[in-house]
């Protein structure tokens, strides 16, 4: 009995039910979307819990012939990395629906696109066939455009177009890489296992790897191709920012790991220094930019790029510790970024209608729930012990120390700047007293609603759970990333003399 694919089926079923004309009120649309997201989360949780750690490998498989003549099958399955990321997707999807409880305009279309995006993301994480990965990867692009262009704000036309063009252009690089990879492997099959088993010569891997890694990396906010991310996240409606920063950026990182590193291990070994450099630069560079932002949401947007730098850095280490840290950071940042965007985009902006520092005053007293949520999420974002960010970043740092220690310098500087901009945002956003004669400042703001509280607590408990008890996550992640690290080690080991 394969349970994992049910995350996709249930999301699709929810979309079908949502498009029935019997639902006339936005409240009904929300409940259908919430139940769909919850059932997806339930399936992801069951898949996570029932994953057999001792057996390892890809489990819960499903393989149907799709295009047998072209070596393409509809093949789904989850390994330790996939179950963790599916769990993340479920969490962010549920809290995204809850944070969208105030959507009234075209709510049916909004939730259809939202669920379409979620379904595409589940698909990428679960696909076990290169064609299918690319299919779902592209499927997730179009909903983003509409979610931002229709429901967004702040230069939404520009941001939507920029984000989608970045995604599409980078996916063209991915497509070229995939086609050449399959052709060069000589297997005539898109199945991940047979591609992993194929021998691709080292020079070919060395120039295929950048194509695939950069192609996927754009979606992961890889510096210097990250600029779509802050503008896109800022312009998107809250639920879409949460999904974008929370899981869509992970699609790119997942592709880097699953396709680029796993299928081109020799290429990865060749370029690992460059990958680490890009990751470390992103951590410091984006953190410095975040320090200078006046718009609260841009701070969060750049902090996302900075945190994704840890994922890239972890991928560049190519050892099990660093790779596990990268996967853990995907989970951790997915939860934390969702939370931060929810605080700024939903709790604050929807009430004060501004996100500019200087116009936000005394929110500590006016929105205490938002304040405490931000304090905790900010602490998690800075990587304080007890939160998931700590577990993730410490592993990345150890992994880097083992392989490319030089890049720890900008990384640690970047972490210091992270403290600075988080505390500065906390201060300017919540502690600034009202200016003299500012009538807005004394206005009573609508209090935080129940759906917002439930969603915030869900995400907070996720980051605390992963931070205080990382074992369940690590025990699933480690075997999977160790296998990849061993592939890299085997690819770089000198060939045994006959």
């Amino acid at each position: 009995m394969s349970l994992v694919p049910w995350t996709i089926w249930l999301t699709l079923a929810g979309m079908a039910i949502l498009s029935l004309p019997v639902w006339r009120h936005s409240a009904q649309h929300k409940w259908v979307a919430l139940i769909t997201a919850l059932s997806g989360l339930a399936m992801a949780t069951i898949a996570f819990l029932s994953y057999d750690i001792s057996a390892g490998g890809v489990q819960g498989g499903l393989s149907l012939p799709w295009l047998p003549s072209l070596g393409i099958s509809f093949s789904l399955g989850a390994d330790g990395i996939s179950v963790v990321l599916c769990l993340l997707t479920g969490l962010v999807a549920v809290s995204g629906v809850l944070f969208s409880w105030n959507i009234e305009k075209n709510s049916r279309a909004f939730f259809l696109l939202f669920l379409g995006l979620v379904g595409g993301v589940y698909g990428v994480f679960l696909a076990n066939d290169l064609f299918l990965i690319f299919f779902f990867y592209e499927l997730a692009i179009i909903p983003k455009f509409f979610l931002i262009a229709i429901w967004g704000h702040t230069r939404k036309d520009y941001a939507a177009m920029k984000l989608v063009l970045y995604s599409l252009v980078s996916s063209a690089a991915v497509l070229l890489g995939i086609l050449l990879l399959v052709a060069a492997s000589g297997t005539g099959s898109f199945d991940m296992q047979s591609l992993a088993a194929a021998k691709i010569s080292e020079p070919v891997q060395i120039w295929l790897f950048p194509l695939l890694f950069l192609g996927f990396g754009v979606l992961a906010g890889l510096w210097p191709f990250h600029t779509w991310a802050p503008t896109g996240h800022v312009a998107a409606p809250t639920a879409a920012s949460m999904l974008l920063a929370g899981v869509v950026m992970k699609l790119g990182a997942y592709g880097c790991l699953r396709v680029a590193v796993q299928l081109c291990p020799a290429g990865a070994a060749h370029w690992s220094g460059w990958v680490c450099a890009l990751g470390a630069i992103a951590i410091l560079f984006a953190a410095l930019i975040a320090l200078r932002q006046r718009d609260f949401k841009f701070v969060i947007g750049y902090s996302s790029v900075s945190h994704m730098g840890f994922v890239i850095l972890g991928l560049g280490t190519l050892n099990a510790t660093g790779l596990a840290g990268a996967v853990m950071q995907m989970f951790s940042h997915g939860v934390i970024a969702g939370l931060l965007f929810a605080v700024v985009g939903r709790m604050i902006y929807e009430r004060t209608h501004t996100r500019m520092f200087g116009e936000l005053s005394d929110l500590r007293h006016r929105l205490p729930f938002a304040f405490w949520t931000f304090v905790l999420a900010g602490a998690a974002s800075m990587g304080l012990p007890g939160f998931s960010g700590f577990i993730a970043e410490i592993q990345v740092l150890i992994g880097t120390w083992k392989s490319q220690a030089i890049w720890l310098v900008p990384t640690v500087l970047g972490m210091a700047v992270t403290f600075a901009y988080t505390l500065q945002a906390l201060h300017q956003g919540f502690f600034t007293p009202a200016a003299q004669g500012d009538t807005h400042a004394s206005e009573q703001l609508p209090s935080i609603t129940l759906p917002e509280k439930v969603a915030a607590l869900l995400l907070l408990s996720a980051t605390l759970w992963a931070g205080l008890n990382p074992e369940p996550l690590n025990r699933r992640i480690y075997p999977a990333v160790s296998a990849i690290a061993e592939r890299v080690a085997a690819a770089t080991a000198p060939a045994p003399q006959p």
Partner: protein
Amino acid sequence: MMNPLDWNTLLRLLPEILAGLTLFSVVGVDRGLISHWGEQARFTVSRLFACGALAACALVSLAEIPFGSSVGLAGAAVFDPLSSFAQAAIFLLASGSLWLTSPEDAGEHPAEFFALGIASALGLSLMASARDLILLFISVELSGLSLYALCAFHKKSAASAEAALKYFTIGAVASAFTLYGFGILMSQAGGTRFDEIAVGLFSHPPTLWTLVGVIFSLGGMAFKITAAPMHMAAPDVYRHAPLPVASMIATASKVGAAMALIRLVGHALSPDVPLGGWHAVQDFWVITAGWLAAVSMVLGNLGALAQQGFRRLIAYSGVAHAGYMLVALFSCTPQGYACLLFYSVIYAAANLGLFALIAGRDESEGDSLRRWQGLATHSPAAAIALGVFILSLAGLPPTAGFAGKFFLFMSAAGGALGWMQATPLLAVGLLASCIGFYYYLRVLKYAFVHGVEEGEASMTVRVLPLVWISLAVVLVLGVAPNFLLAPMAQWAAGLFPSASL
């Protein structure tokens, strides 16, 4: 000596014979039986008759698929499942395009309009089964001449006449190229039948003349599939020709040209018996096709980028798509040829849907992209259909365009030349298609994001069945491409036993 018209040939020519009979009877009925009726009634009868008969031809062609393959007309024509399928598609697309005709399009001579439409469908259908340079040329001309006349059918519109003149001029140049190329091929190979050429060309080392013949033949044929550099008339034709004519050129014509090209390169320009190696003649046409593809993809996408009019945009995107299709020729494998035909069919389905949507709305405000403004607000179903067709052209899932484009590029990467040689072409194609995303997104933005200004715009009910059928084709083949691709690959594999090296 083979009898040119035996019973089997007559049976396999049944769709063409039916179409030919309809051609004359449409005019006959109009002139003889109902000439005293009102103009509107005559128009309705002619349209029903023509579209019904073409749909019947399509059904007969489909029914002939299980009959296997045979050669007829003294070896000039081949009847096989792939041709029968292409013919069915051509007749269906022609029937659908003609169904979009409005009384204004046909003017005061409705029967002539439909008769010309049928004549061009007949020519395209013969193109799909031509196995001889002479028959191929005649069928190209039959469809071409009818389309030139149809382009100018808006007799009172100077723009329509201008479009027709441009189309005719470029078409005449292309015909001259084709004829010269065919002539050289014939002189080099010592025959006009494809099997003779396949033996003759490969029995001796190629000369410079062979190269010229190949380039001229393919360059001329590029006109029928609107590939660059024979694309210059397309924007005007798409914009100013009567809508059903533009639709015919964008849909049926592409399928016919795709099938003719497949047969020309796969049969005539590939060795009849495996040579155990690569022959320079193959180099000639593979490289020519690669250049045509690259130039079409780049020029088409760049051209579309600058367009403000929707029909002109579709015209340039059609040039780009012709380029994508030619990429599959680079593979030189039956699998690649099947992917090419598959793509031409789904491309045509999406385009037919788009033209049906255009026909369904008042066009009095001109051709601007603005015509779609607010579509999502007042007719959401039509907006979703438009979105799906545009996504299919852009090559995004879950539409057939995604699968089709993937297969085109994949077949080139896995082709006979090897993936290293295909890499530059693939890179150019993918870069060019990135340009395409921008203008497709612009269309979606008008339809979904920009609000309505004023008024209610409704869709004409007549076009809706076509929209839904095209939508179903594009979505079903997007999710289950194997449904069509597997049989096509099987048919193609049977056709060119020696093509796989």
